[in-house]
Structures are given as structure tokens and as C-alpha cells.
């Protein structure tokens, strides 16, 4: 047993750190650190910086312009980026569609779409969930009827994250009504500018516009935009859902958040003493720190197993459950640390450049909103209950 990274991996870490120190714009890092709103231009700017270095597509093989990194390198990269408060890479094109195209797409599709993901020509969003198809994704109803060399799409997608920024959407659509639900689904690429598409915002409980509903009425999509075979889209969907989830635990993000939480606990005062010295708060903080450290080792164990050829399957479900629990708990403690000042919520104060009066201690402006926003973590990407179903079936054989 050896818990250390190799000399090569340590050298890689140093390279990533040097890159971040030189290339991550300080104002971008500050926005992330202070939980200020990131806009499309912020995300595009960071993508462009990574792309210029050849580090944007860490999940793709080198032949397609990816990094070809090992699982450990990806882990190191994501950790260092999180600790440096880099914006997250928007996953829809890079982590979701890219790998599906590389596995299931034809040559023309790969040649056309992959470079456009890298250079930012296309912004993709995900058309999976529907009002009636959440955890039971295979029950989706949005239909695509073949009409000559087009499909005609009708239906509704929902929870479409950053769909208001996107010019393209990849969709699961029903191309056959008969038979098992999973066997009538196809994977279709749709231009958001096609007539008949309407995007409506969904405002979440923190008042933010992050997700959308997307309506399709008689939307004509070229048949060439079908990925893989008709009625075999479920394979793409499952591949996408399980692909590259070794870093789903978000160890780096939680580590960075915990560092900030400790700073807050040292700064905030309760009964005239630092909050960090309050036994009840210190105990909550210590428990999450211990759980995070355990999860870091669990994550590394899964990576090591994957390096031996064992593709992480249900293990990533464990990482998803505990990883999201830890991230939620840290935001809960951030909220607690603010005491009465968790309640004031000046939405404009989260906008960069806001110069109005601020209420409460440093960090109070976003603590509660972030806590409420992060309730999503245990719901999306397969709810934590669905993950337990997967564990029961795949690992426990129940």
C-alpha cells in the first residue's frame, strides 16, 4: 500500500499549479471564491484559456483533441482547479456529449461536432428529463417521427441547465411507441434555432435562473443528427450517465469549501469567542472533515481499481451519494456560521461590480442561497435514492 502520488504525478500537479497561477484570471477566481454569479462570458473565457493549453477535454482521447490523461491525472487536475477557485468546466458538451460521439457517432459527426465543442462554437445543453420522466427516465414521451430525411420532434424537456445559453441540445426522443420503453429511444442532436423550439426559464428557490423548460412543436431535425442507431439511444444515455464518474465525489470542491468554512469559523464570533471554539460547531465541522478525508481515500481506491481495468460502476454511486452529502453539509455549516445574517438576501449583491451596501459579515450574502441551491445535488444526476437502487442491484445483488 502506498497512498502517495508517483513522482510523475507530483510533477504533473506542479505543472497544473503553475498553469493556474499564471493563467487563471484573478478576477474570475475571486468571483468563484466569493460565490458571485458567473455569466456565459466568464465560462467561455475559462474554456478558451484551457483550450489554448490543450487541457479542456480531459475526458477525451488525444486523437480527438483531448488530454488523454489517466484517471489519477484527471483527479489531480480537478482538485487543483477547485483549490485555485477556477470556474467549473461546463460539462454538457465536454464531459457528456463528447464521449458519446466518440463512442457512438459516425466519422462525419465526430469531425463536425467535436472541434466545435472545443473552440466554443457550440454551447450544448442536455435534453433528458421531462415533466413525467425524472428518475424513471425511460418513460420519456418527447416523440421524433421520421419524415423523409428529417425527424419531426414534439414534446417537452425540463431542468435544462444553462439551456438559455445554448445553441444546441442533445435529446433523448421516442422513435417507437411499442415494446419495452428502453427499446424505442433515440439520441438526437438538435439546433436550438430551429423553428418550433421555445425555452422558458425556471426560477429556482434561491431566485436564480439556471434551469429551463424546452418545448418542441413540429421541430424538423435532419436525420443525419441521429447518433448511433434508431431505437438504440438508451445505450448512449446509459453510457453518458455512467461515463467518467470517478470524480463525481467532488473531493476538490469540498476541500476548497471546507477551507473557506474553517476561515469563516475562525472569523465569526459566538458569545465573544471564535465560532471555531464553540464545541457544538467544532464537532459538526470535525465530522465533515473526517468524512471528507475518508471519501478522498475511497475516491483514490476507486481510481486505483479503475487503473487496473475495472471500470467504476456502482462504486461511483457510493461516491455520488457521500460526495453530495458532504457538499450539502458544508453549505449547511456555512449557513449556520452566519447566524442571524443568513436571512438577509440581496440578490444583486451576488453580481460582480455591485457597489451597494452589504449586509452582515463576509460570506453572508450567498450562504443561505447556496445552501438552498445545493439541495439539487442529491436530486440530479440520478437521485441519491436511485443510486442506492443501483448499489442494491449491482453490488449487493438484491
Amino acid at each position: 500500500m502506498d497512498l502517495h502520488f508517483t513522482a510523475e504525478e507530483e510533477a504533473f500537479r506542479a505543472e497544473v499549479r503553475a498553469f493556474l497561477a499564471a493563467q487563471l484570471p484573478p478576477e474570475l477566481a475571486r468571483k468563484v471564491r466569493e460565490n458571485h454569479r458567473l455569466h456565459k462570458a466568464d465560462m467561455q473565457a475559462w474554456h478558451a484559456i484551457l483550450n489554448a493549453r490543450g487541457w479542456l477535454a480531459s475526458h477525451w482521447p488525444q486523437a480527438y483533441g483531448g488530454t488523454g490523461w489517466t484517471a489519477v491525472q484527471k483527479f489531480i487536475f480537478e482538485n487543483e482547479c477547485a483549490l485555485a477557485h477556477a470556474p467549473r468546466i461546463v460539462p454538457f458538451g465536454l464531459s457528456m456529449l463528447g464521449p458519446v460521439l466518440i463512442k457512438y457517432g459516425n466519422e462525419a459527426q465526430k469531425r463536425h461536432w467535436l472541434p466545435r465543442i472545443l473552440d466554443g462554437t457550440d454551447w450544448w445543453c442536455q435534453g433528458y428529463s421531462e415533466p413525467g420522466a425524472g428518475s424513471d427516465l425511460a418513460s420519456l414521451k418527447t416523440s421524433a417521427m421520421r419524415d423523409g430525411d428529417h425527424y419531426v420532434v414534439n414534446g417537452q424537456k425540463t431542468w435544462t441547465t444553462l439551456g438559455h445559453y445554448a445553441n444546441m441540445i442533445f435529446c433523448l426522443v421516442r422513435t417507437r411507441a411499442e415494446g419495452k420503453p428502453q427499446e424505442g429511444i433515440s439520441f438526437l442532436l438538435v439546433d436550438m434555432d430551429t423553428p418550433g423550439i421555445e425555452v422558458r426559464p425556471i426560477i429556482t428557490l434561491d431566485g436564480e435562473h439556471e434551469v429551463n423548460e424546452v418545448f418542441f412543436s413540429d421541430v424538423r431535425v435532419p436525420a443525419a443528427n441521429l447518433v448511433g442507431e434508431e431505437n438504440r439511444g438508451w445505450s448512449c444515455a446509459k453510457y453518458l450517465l455512467t461515463y467518467e464518474r470517478t470524480n463525481i465525489a467532488g473531493v476538490g470542491l469540498s476541500t476548497a469549501a471546507l477551507q473557506q468554512l474553517k476561515a469563516v469559523a475562525a472569523r465569526q464570533r459566538k458569545n465573544g469567542r471564535p465560532l471555531a471554539q464553540d464545541p457544538a460547531f467544532a464537532a459538526r465541522l470535525a465530522r465533515v472533515e473526517i468524512e471528507l478525508d475518508n471519501m478522498r481515500i475511497t475516491n483514490l481506491r476507486v481510481l486505483a481499481a479503475a487503473a487496473h481495468g475495472g471500470a467504476p460502476g456502482a462504486e461511483s454511486s457510493m461516491l455520488k451519494i457521500r460526495g453530495t452529502q458532504i457538499r450539502q453539509e458544508i453549505t449547511a455549516l456555512q449557513r449556520r456560521a452566519m447566524g442571524v445574517y443568513a436571512r438577509p438576501y440581496v440578490a444583486q449583491a451576488l453580481e460582480d461590480g455591485y457597489d451597494g451596501p452589504r449586509v452582515g459579515p463576509q460570506g453572508a450574502d450567498s450562504a443561505a442561497a447556496q445552501y438552498f441551491n445545493y439541495r439539487k445535488l442529491s436530486i440530479f444526476g440520478g437521485s441519491n435514492e436511485i443510486q442506492k437502487n443501483i448499489i442494491s442491484k449491482m453490488i449487493l445483488g438484491l
Binding site: 497512498l3 473526517i290 457510493m318 457521500r322 442506492k388 442494491s392
Partner: protein, 379 residues
């Protein structure tokens, strides 16, 4: 980064697990655990022959290993079979002698490693909780030697041990880390009274009353007043051992419960078909993997030169094991239903051992507070 054990450790682990499974089955274990002796001298000898005691000590001390991962591998295998032989105190008391003993004191290690001796660490005291530095037993100069007065609580195999490593205060206040000394006290010493009793998780222990126990000068182990560092080192190894033992017991409890969910029929189907039970079992599985990570981390940090890094990893592991061990015990009984309440089911004994591990060398609360106290100051 590599999470595989070395070939030697894997062989030791496989061999011990096989021996325990084949030779130390539940009926054998139950008989030994309830016996008047509380352990089997014959099995103790056989474990020594397998190298299981030697693996706990460094070569310089006559052993074959002694690192964190050696300790973890042995105790994990012991935990799978709920072994009651006195490994933990052999490790802790033996380590104290190895760390602080003179050449002649270290002669006690040879019969220990050969499986011919039982040695116990007598440190905890009645009413004193788990704080390592709290020692009220007193040792005062008595001519060339020492005189000890005090009491020690729940000392492993107190009736069978031939030798005790006893902590006693030679200076300072009750809670001072400085001023604690260690003494080698032979069984049968005048003024040493042992009150033995059985344990709910199997085997026996006893309370020691020390009333004017006179010891020669060479009974002092290491420097007078410098015992705390030795105790912390030896107890640290004991903490890792307990955590690894719990991990082995949890794995066994999980396997038994999983099998039960797959075979027990109610409402015409195996009860493992019910989602309410599946989700509880998925939680158990997840928590055990987190506990495994905690043990790996503690084993890796055991040799860490920096005290805070080492001791925090050990306390973090004990916090995790305390929480998860109790959870696994309670969930596995619940998932078994009524049969989980019976003596005849091995699972019930795994549950008892798992919960009682939280009562040894500091419970979850104690180690959580210790983990916090050991934190580096926030900049």
C-alpha cells in the same frame, strides 16, 4: 499510489483468514469466549506459530513486521472470526516494552511472541474516562524501589496475565501528561488484587486494585515521568488494531446480513426485494467502505513523524469506526429481525463486539474532541 498489499502481507492475510474460518468457527469461538479462562492457550500458541503475533512487532524486537499495515492485516483477519485471544494487549504492552524497555526487560518479549505468555496493559482507571493523560494511580519511591497505590479498570485477561504494564503517576497533577511512569508488575505481586469477570462481547477482563504494591527499581519501564509518550505510541497502535478488527467484523456482519436478505422469504419473496431494506443495506455498504478508507489512512499515517498528522488520523479512524461500527451492528440486527436477537446466531456476537469496540481506548465522542484539539491553528 497503490492500494494492494505486498505479497507477504497478502499471504499472511489469506492464511490467517483461512485458519480462522476453518479452525476457529463460531462454535469453537463461542466455547472459548465463555470458558473460565476467557481465551484458549492452545489457540494462542497456534496463532503465534502462524506468525500472527510476530507480525505485530519489528524485526529488531524479534518480530516480522510491526508497521501499520502489518497490524491492520492481522487484526482485520481476527475481526472476521471474533478472535478473543489477547492480541490487543500483546500489541500494546509488548510495544511499550519494546519502545522503553531495558535489555533485560525486553526478555519478556520472547515468550510473548512465542505465544507462551499473556501480558496486559493496565492503564484505564475507574471513573477516569478515556483521557490518556489522566492517571490517579500513584507510585512513590520506596527505598531503592517503588510503591504503587491505585486502581485499574477492565484490564484484558487480568486473571490470566503473567505480567502487567501499569501506568502510575510519579509527579504532577491528575491530568498532567508529564509525570506518568510505566511499571512492570508481575501477576501475584503482594498487594495486587484482581477481580475478574466475563465480558458481554466474549472473553474475560478484570479490575486491578493496587494497595501498597512494592516493586524493585528495575520494574520501572523507561524514564520516570516520561511514560505518556510511550503510552500514546502503544495506544496508537492499539487504536489502529481495534479499527482494523472492527472492519473485519463489519465485513463478516455485512456478508451474513446480505445472505439473509437473499434467502429469508416473507410475503412470498426474498426480503431483499423490498426497497426499504435495500436502501438500508446500501447505506451499510457505503459506510463500511468509508470505514475501510479510514483504516487505510490510519495505517499509512501510523509511522508519520509529525504527531498531529499521526494522532489525528488515528482519532479520525476511531471516530469513523465508532459511528459506523454501531450503525452496522444496529442495522444488521434490525435487518435480521427476531433471529438477530438470538445467541445462536453468530451475527449477534459480531454486533456486540462492534458496539463494544467503541468502549475501548476512547469512544466516538472522545476521539472527536481529540481530533478537534489536535487541529493545527487556523491562520
Amino acid at each position: 499510489m497503490n492500494f494492494d498489499h505486498t505479497e507477504d502481507r497478502r499471504m499472511l492475510s489469506d492464511m490467517l483468514k483461512r485458519f480462522v474460518a476453518e479452525q476457529y468457527a463460531f462454535a469453537v469461538r463461542d466455547r472459548i469466549a465463555r470458558s473460565p479462562e476467557g481465551y484458549s492457550a492452545e489457540f494462542w500458541q497456534r496463532y503465534a506459530e502462524l506468525g500472527a503475533i510476530g507480525a505485530l512487532f519489528a524485526e529488531a524486537d524479534g518480530g516480522l513486521g510491526g508497521t501499520g499495515f502489518d497490524i491492520a492485516v492481522v487484526f482485520e483477519a481476527l475481526g472476521r472470526g471474533l478472535v478473543v485471544e489477547p492480541f490487543l494487549d500483546a500489541l500494546m504492552a509488548g510495544d511499550a516494552i519494546a519502545a522503553a524497555g531495558s535489555a533485560s526487560q525486553k526478555q519478556a518479549l520472547e515468550p510473548l511472541l512465542a505465544g507462551g505468555a499473556v501480558i496486559a496493559l493496565a492503564h484505564a482507571e475507574p471513573g477516569n474516562g478515556y483521557e490518556l493523560a489522566r492517571v490517579q494511580t500513584r507510585a512513590v519511591r520506596d527505598g531503592d524501589g517503588w510503591r504503587l497505590d491505585g486502581a485499574k479498570a477492565v484490564v484484558a485477561q487480568a486473571e490470566q496475565a503473567g505480567l502487567f504494564v501499569v501506568s502510575a503517576r510519579t509527579a504532577g497533577d491528575d491530568d498532567d501528561a508529564g509525570g506518568i511512569s510505566l511499571f512492570l508488575v508481575p501477576a501475584g505481586a503482594a498487594g495486587l488484587h484482581v477481580q475478574g469477570y466475563p465480558l458481554i462481547d466474549g472473553g474475560r477482563a478484570g479490575d486491578l486494585a493496587l494497595a501498597g504494591v512494592r516493586l524493585p527499581a528495575d520494574a520501572l519501564l523507561g524514564q520516570a515521568g516520561a511514560g505518556h509518550a510511550v503510552l500514546e505510541r502503544s495506544t496508537g497502535k492499539g487504536l489502529l488494531a481495534l479499527c482494523a478488527e472492527a472492519l473485519g467484523a463489519m465485513d463478516a456482519a455485512r456478508d451474513a446480513t446480505l445472505e439473509y436478505l437473499q434467502t429469508r422469504q416473507q410475503f412470498g419473496v426474498p426480503i431483499g426485494r423490498f426497497q426499504a431494506l435495500q436502501h438500508r443495506m446500501a447505506d451499510v455498504l457505503l459506510e463500511i467502505e468509508q470505514a475501510r478508507s479510514a483504516v487505510i489512512n490510519a495505517a499509512a499515517q501510523l509511522g508519520h513523524a509529525e504527531r498531529a498528522a499521526r494522532e489525528r488520523a488515528l482519532s479520525a479512524a476511531k471516530v469513523t469506526i465508532g459511528r459506523v461500527g454501531t450503525l452496522v451492528a444496529e442495522e444488521c440486527i434490525q435487518l435480521h429481525g427476531g433471529i438477530g436477537m438470538t445467541w445462536e446466531l453468530p451475527l449477534a456476537h459480531y454486533a456486540k463486539r462492534l458496539v463494544m469496540i467503541d468502549h475501548q481506548l476512547g469512544d466516538e465522542d472522545h476521539h472527536l474532541a481529540r481530533f478537534i484539539a489536535l487541529a493545527p491553528a487556523q491562520a
